[in-house]
Symmetry: C2
């Protein structure tokens, strides 16, 4: 039986404008969009109807970069840059995830907060620990949210209490892929070398081979910080640039997502576009760690696929709506810094990045076009101000800038209504 | 009878560090701080004791720049720069405040939202309308919040439906000062030329005279946008710079607050320091209107008094806590843009700006030193994560980055507990 959701429907088929259906209807069948109509059809046989009234129905938010074990550090240690921040806050916290009880208490809160903020699909870093990574996957499966989850690999340049033996890291990853690849419908594993400085060539090559053998995607970091970029040059003089290090180890392709991309060269951007690599733009984290501003417009102009990431915990906001407004703000500074050559992001472009842009990493996700998964949020914006005389685009813009989790009344993933994860 | 508030007490006597009293006691008498103690005194006679438990007690937030009539535009129109944004959003909205019923409905919501977000003192722009400005003052008086409120003056370069006749503007301002100067204990008028482009020399000079005659402070805008700075140069070739235009009309002194200060020259900054002029840093607005980043460190190095402003409606956040984290983020980009010469703001510095820094505009406000007004917030941060193992400074930092109005449980102004303003 198909389902009809009535309400004000907004989504971005393309970045430069919203598709808007005032008092429209989205028809969903088996969790997927059949079509969006201006009104209920004449023939309503076999159609279950839910009327959301004067509310906004929009695609669920997609977060391409989130470190689950860093959640307890949210809003802490942000007077530091990347490398000292890793030493002082991140690595000590990540060491705790050998303790399954601790992992369960944190990851349950992570799932609940991601649910609360309206994110319906997320690409997660776990820690190096195989067991707690499996636990994280089971918690997201139980929550009903869509996720790629990565067991982190690192076998150099990190503290003794976290560093992996190369062989053991590869074997644990293989065993974990075996046990989780087909275990859950919406939660899948992906290969996750932390970043070049913490992974030997041997490890990276083996991970590239595993990604190919098991046909799973890849996530990692790139060019977040200038000192990091210099370090990678020293570590890998044999590769043309940072992006090429990943390429040279079989880790770069159309299912790879690279977080940050603040300092990529034009050649790297062109390569990312040519190979279909995704960029995860994480403006809050890039501000907080004093890294810089990713020139998003340059990536969009080059045809790179771009989505948004919260980068919890370097980013302090779990809400992708908040990341959208921060991305717009950052793009305005990038515009000023570029002699006004890199045009600022518009509201519809930022919304696109946080829905369909990142959603493409999951398949047909993040839009309400026919065939797309029905991942959706129902938003009641009456708390935020007067609605009379406001266009629907203004009402959505206002929610993105000043709304929060209190305004999201219902969430759907692949057509299923998702209730608050139990604790 | 003196009152003792027990709890975790944090404030910034100076910018570079927090004063922290774990399980401390702040003693308040007649609305003012007597002292802060490590524990309850032996002799508790004549002392009423309130135990706030495992909560944080911090100074109330101070907002140096807020346009009350722009509140309905919160989160709207932010794909525009300053001058078109004024034309398309701000001026049409401000015209509505000749309607007292409309004004009352908006200003009541303004007071409630400012209360909700923990701001205890605010410097407000009203509109050009004398009657609704008086209404705004009475609403803030009834709410119990501290405020300076300005009837806006403008007699050129603004739409017909808002422009004032010069003489009428001066006379309305004089009458308004007469009627409100001594009317309320915590709500006071201040002289408010909108900014140079909208005020003739004749008007500015008369407003300078009124400020002196009635001994009231002054607020206005300066150097928010490059096009605006150029325009002011064309309008006033006789003055050395933008700051001098205000000085030349008797509007610059130690009770003047200038909002924005993105493009002030070194000479202007030195003059502001010498005269004791306040700068209101409004990073959200400067981002949203693509203006730029105020180099706050330069002002602090020069000894200028700096506070924070939300600049609602160009700024979309009413929370000064949120402005603090945005100010820190902006200062990190200013650091990168200045070849790492302008050091980023630390958390304690941003907190200082949003409490004692701006509070100085109101007298002894924004700190818990003896003699200061007891303006305070009680914060319950247990919603935000585990508190065990966290320092009090980390707990406050976390609230500033990820907390919101839900975490503020009580507010005080001059010793009075302030309840939610009625609608």
């Amino acid at each position: 039986m198909a389902i009809a959701y009535q309400g004000h429907i907004l989504f971005t088929k393309q970045p430069d404008r919203f598709e808007i259906h005032e008092n429209g209807v989205v028809i969903v069948d088996e969790g997927k969009i059949l079509e969006v109509l201006e009104a209920l059809p004449e023939n309503r046989e076999g159609l279950e109807i839910f009327n959301m009234g004067d509310r906004l129905i929009v695609p669920g938010f997609v977060d391409l970069h989130f470190h689950a074990p860093q959640f307890p550090n949210l809003g802490l240690g942000l007077d530091k840059e990347l490398l000292p921040w890793l030493e002082d806050y991140t690595f000590p916290e990540e060491a705790k995830y050998s303790d399954m009880e601790y992992a369960e208490s944190v990851f349950t809160r992570v799932a609940r907060e991601i649910w609360r903020q309206g994110t319906t699909r997320v690409v997660l870093f776990s820690s190096v620990h195989k067991e707690s990574t499996e636990l994280l996957m089971s918690i997201f499966d139980r929550a009903g949210l869509g996720a790629y989850v990565g067991k982190v690999n690192m076998d150099r340049n990190c503290p003794d209490f976290l560093v992996e033996n190369t062989e053991a890291s590869i074997e644990a990853t293989r065993a974990w892929l075996e046990s989780t690849k087909d275990k859950y419908p919406r939660v899948k594993p992906l290969i996750t070398p932390r970043f070049v400085p913490t992974c030997t060539s041997e490890l990276m090559r083996a991970l590239g081979d595993l990604a190919e053998a098991y046909d799973v995607p890849v996530q990692t970091h790139i060019s977040e910080n200038q000192a990091e970029v210099e370090w990678v040059k020293e570590l890998h003089p044999e590769s043309a640039d940072y992006t090429s290090v990943y390429e040279d180890h079989g880790l770069l392709g159309d299912r790879t997502v690279l977080a940050h991309c603040v300092f990529n060269t034009e050649a790297e951007i062109a390569k990312m576009a040519a190979l279909g690599v995704f960029a995860a733009h994480c403006p809050n984290a890039n501000y907080n760690l004093a890294s810089g501003i990713m020139p998003v417009r340059q990536f969009l102009n080059a045809g790179v696929k771009v989505g948004l990431g919260t980068d919890v915990g370097a980013g302090h906001k779990v809400s992708i709506a908040s990341v959208m407004s921060t991305a717009i703000q950052a793009s305005k500074i990038a515009w000023l810094n570029s002699d006004r050559t890199l045009a600022p992001l518009t509201t519809s472009e930022a919304f696109y990045l946080g829905t369909k842009g990142g959603g493409a990493y999951f398949g047909k996700v993040g839009s309400f076009e026919p065939g797309y998964e029905f991942d959706a949020l129902v938003i009641d914006d009456h708390r935020l101000g007067v609605t009379e005389g406001r266009t629907l685009e203004e009402r959505l813009q206002r929610f993105l800038y000043i709304g929060d989790d209190r305004d999201i009344v219902t969430r759907f993933v692949s057509g299923d209504e998702i209730l608050e994860p139990s604790m």
